[in-house]
């Protein structure tokens, strides 16, 4: 235990791949928490955006640090993947907001726990 604690203290100030990955893990967990607990549909969407951002950080961090197994990779495939994630996030946000507006017109609420029936 002592050893691992001193290891962490030694590891912390030298920023490398794992630091970015851990920031993205924290963002991912917060996004999941937002999705799971929020009642307002728009806040659920914000949680989804946090999760997508976490995935993007992972993509780009691995692209930068080359990956342990692919030292010859040019390091840009991850960035292209991140571009596609951003594209899909934009499309998803537009569609989801349209759906939320429709739900609001119909039910006069956007709380996801109150919208429990599929047919009027």
């Amino acid at each position: 235990m002592e050893k691992s604690a001193s290891e962490i203290i030694q590891w912390l100030p030298h920023v490398g791949l794992s630091h970015f990955l851990i920031v993205s893990a924290i963002l991912f967990a917060l996004g999941i928490y937002g999705i799971a607990t929020r009642r307002n549909a728009i806040l659920v969407l914000m949680g989804v955006e946090l999760v997508l951002n976490a995935a993007n950080i992972n993509f780009i961090a691995f692209a930068r640090y080359g990956g342990v197994n692919f030292p010859a990779a040019g390091g840009f495939d991850g960035q292209v993947a991140a571009i596609f994630v951003i594209i899909l996030a934009a499309a998803e946000a537009a569609i989801a907001l349209a759906i939320v507006l429709n739900i609001y017109h119909r039910f006069q609420t956007v709380n996801v726990d109150e919208i429990s029936h599929m047919k009027e």
Binding site: V15, L21, A41, I57, V100, D113
Partner: protein
């Protein structure tokens, strides 16, 4: 500790702290505006790992597009005059346990597997935009075209969903 490390910790702190506010704030408006800081912090992290094009894209699309869309959604679906902007939470204790387990597992895996990855020797000297453009037009041409079709379909679908329902 070099300048790189200090800058990383500053922006990582901004990102994580504002993400906490997004998730735990009782007020939807506060959540939306601290999402702004989260997106900017993530863009700064992109700059730190030398993804300059993606950082600008992040600011343009997330902050300029998605966040504004979210704010419109908040304004249109809440009775702002009634100050009914509270967003309640559901079963937060089980979710908290689940999330703690997820975060611990992910963080442990990330730490134990990749803590010894050496820093890349060379830095990308020029901008990444040219390379990314060439890759999108050569090896990623098909996904690129499909993405454009998806955007078109999403545009039409969103417009159709959101307009007033009329008899066809």
């Amino acid at each position: 500790m070099q300048l790189f490390d200090i800058v990383f910790f500053v922006f990582a702190f901004i990102t994580v702290a504002s993400a906490f506010i997004v998730v735990f704030s009782r007020n939807i408006i506060y959540s939306a505006f601290s999402l702004l800081f989260t997106f900017f912090g993530v863009a700064a992290l992109y700059v730190l790992i030398q993804a300059d094009f993606l950082a600008v894209t992040q600011v343009l699309i997330y902050v300029g597009g998605i966040l504004v869309l979210m704010l419109f959604g908040v304004m249109l679906t809440n009775k702002v005059v009634n100050v009914e902007l509270k967003g309640g939470t559901l079963h937060s204790i089980p979710a908290l346990i689940l999330v703690a387990v997820v975060a611990g597992t992910l963080g442990g895996i990330f730490y134990s597997t990749w803590k010894d990855v050496p820093a890349p020797a060379t830095s990308v000297a020029t901008t990444t935009t040219k390379t990314l453009g060439e890759m999108l037009m050569t090896s990623y041409l098909l996904p690129f075209e499909i993405a454009s079709i998806i955007l078109l379909v999403a545009l039409m679908g969103a417009a159709m969903f959101a307009r007033k329902r009329t008899k066809l």
